[in-house]
């Protein structure tokens, strides 16, 4: 019975770890769900938060200045230009023998146009949850790096394409954005009560590319 339980617990833990690793793999490359790849435009040697080692993150936190009360923020990168890839919006095949008209419409690609935020406490695991940035911390960070564009309109995206028989049409997204990251500490009577490492990506432009390929 004991060996049966041990085997089953072992299997369960393996599944949990496997799932955790799989989830980590989905986010590990950039740390932001919306972006599949991020590249610094003019400073290829720079690192995203997810690429930093534990000691590098500790160093960021150590640069935060002490204060009596409230959030204190250290900005490591301030609005560095990046190129990103955000994957495929749609990919539609036509396996019929007639031309089909595909109409893709969305109220917005809102998650791609507004700021993507990443934060975590020291020692965060890549597969772990990222803490939501509070309004007060956001205010402290924005005070340092500046506000994002106020143009957060919900712009509807609409694409109408004709797909020939035996073809697949895909719409891919790339873009330009500005990346800022750093560390913040919340102080009570001069003692650090909370620590956060954060990374903001403010999208500037989003580019669309339509491609067609043979599927059969």
């Amino acid at each position: 019975m004991k060996s049966f339980l041990k085997i089953n617990i072992g299997i369960l833990l393996s599944v949990i770890v496997f799932c955790g690793l799989s989830h980590a793999e989905a986010n590990a490359s950039t740390g932001h769900d919306e972006f599949t790849s991020i590249k610094f435009l003019y400073n290829p040697e720079l690192k995203l938060i997810v690429e930093m080692s534990e000691s590098e993150r500790v160093a960021l936190l150590n640069r935060v200045k002490r204060k009596a009360f409230g959030w204190s923020t250290y900005t490591n990168y301030r609005k560095y230009e990046i190129e990103y890839e955000a994957g495929t919006i749609f990919s539609r095949s036509n396996t019929t023998n007639q031309v089909i008209e595909f109409h893709y419409s969305t109220a917005t690609s809102d998650k791609k146009t507004k700021t993507s935020e990443l934060s975590g406490t020291l020692g965060m695991k890549l597969s772990g949850k990222f803490n939501k940035i509070t309004a007060s911390l956001d205010s402290s960070i924005r005070g340092e790096i500046g506000k994002k564009s106020e143009s957060t309109f919900k712009e509807e995206m609409e694409f109408k394409v004709k797909i020939e028989p035996g073809r697949r049409v895909s719409l891919m997204v790339k873009g330009l954005a500005k990346l800022s990251n750093g560390a913040s500490k919340y102080y009570l009577f001069g003692i650090s009560a909370k620590k956060e490492i954060w990374e903001y990506i403010d999208v500037v432009n989003e580019y669309y590319e339509l491609t067609e390929e043979i599927v059969m």
Partner: protein, 290 residues
């Protein structure tokens, strides 16, 4: 109807306040087979009496440059659940579903268009919405587009579509010549009627025109351009603007010759990019101030 009018009058009398609206310039393409357009605007009021169809006596399109005006039909005005914040104020999104109850031809283009709202007691205000471009939807689609993308650069602090890359595939083993490529939007033209043939489509969308020519261009020539059969040809067309501006969506009319016969084909509107660097309009309306 009577209750609605009473509500709007009561609202005006109760307090004299400013009604604020936000819009951003958009390009609305209307094909001759579709006379519907949906316009989004944002109101400072959660429930805006000026955006209730029962209170709008008439809604028209005004084209200031030509002094033209077109009466529209309101199909529906939807108060959406979406909100945005601007200058520390909250705005609610409204979608105006409109119809054009008049015949228009494929050459009708209107830029810097205003929506003019008229209410009871002669109240009126205007909201700018951008451009409306009408085109004829042609049924023949012989030309196959295998790849379509744009190149965007910053000019005069604006994000500008400076060129478009298009890969064409021609399967028939007959002489095929691309004669002309014209944007439907008359504010944009193809530079000097020239086309570049590129070696690849793998150039970044924020590449400059100079770099496109230096790194990716196989040859540049004047149109007409012969498209070889049974292979993809990567072409690039630099764009020229009457006035430098941000235009994210373009449709094209392509003229080509196949086996000595000339054809035209419309490439449907395609949004090449989106930018947060856009100019928006804020309209303030004080009731009974006319």
């Amino acid at each position: 109807m009577g209750l609605s009018i009473l509500a709007i009058v009561t609202t005006i009398l109760r307090r004299k306040e400013v009604y604020q609206y936000l819009t951003y310039p958009n390009i609305y393409y209307l094909s001759t087979t579709n006379d519907k357009v949906s316009v989004k605007l944002y109101s400072h009021h959660e429930v805006d009496p000026y955006l209730q169809p029962a209170n709008i006596i008439s809604l028209s399109l005004e084209v200031p440059q030509e002094k033209d005006s077109y009466l529209l039909s309101i199909d529906q005005i939807v108060a959406e659940q979406e909100h945005i914040h601007y200058q520390k104020q909250k705005y609610r999104m409204y979608t105006l579903h409109l119809s054009f109850p008049f015949e228009y031809d494929e050459h009708l283009q209107m830029h810097n268009v205003n929506l003019v709202f008229e209410f009871v007691y002669g109240e009126k205000f205007k909201i700018p919405i951008g451009s409306i471009i009408c085109y004829e939807k042609k049924s023949q689609d012989v030309l196959r587009i295998v790849n379509l993308k744009g190149v965007v650069e910053e000019k005069s602090k604006l994000q500008v579509l400076t060129g478009i890359g298009i890969t064409l595939y021609h399967s028939e083993n007959r002489p095929f010549y691309l004669e002309k490529m014209e944007p439907l939007d008359n504010r944009v033209t193809i530079a000097s009627n020239t086309v570049m043939e590129l070696s690849t489509t793998k150039y970044p969308p924020n590449t400059g025109l100079f770099e496109i020519e230096e790194r990716y261009c196989k040859q540049t020539q004047l149109l007409p351009f012969e498209i070889e059969a049974s292979q993809s040809t990567h072409l690039f067309f630099p764009l020229i603007y009457q006035d430098v501006q941000t235009i994210t969506t373009l449709a094209f009319v392509v003229t080509y010759q196949e086996d000595g016969v000339r054809y035209t084909q419309v490439l449907e509107p395609f949004q090449f990019f989106k930018t947060t660097s856009i100019t928006y309009h804020q309209v303030k309306y004080v009731p009974n101030s006319n």
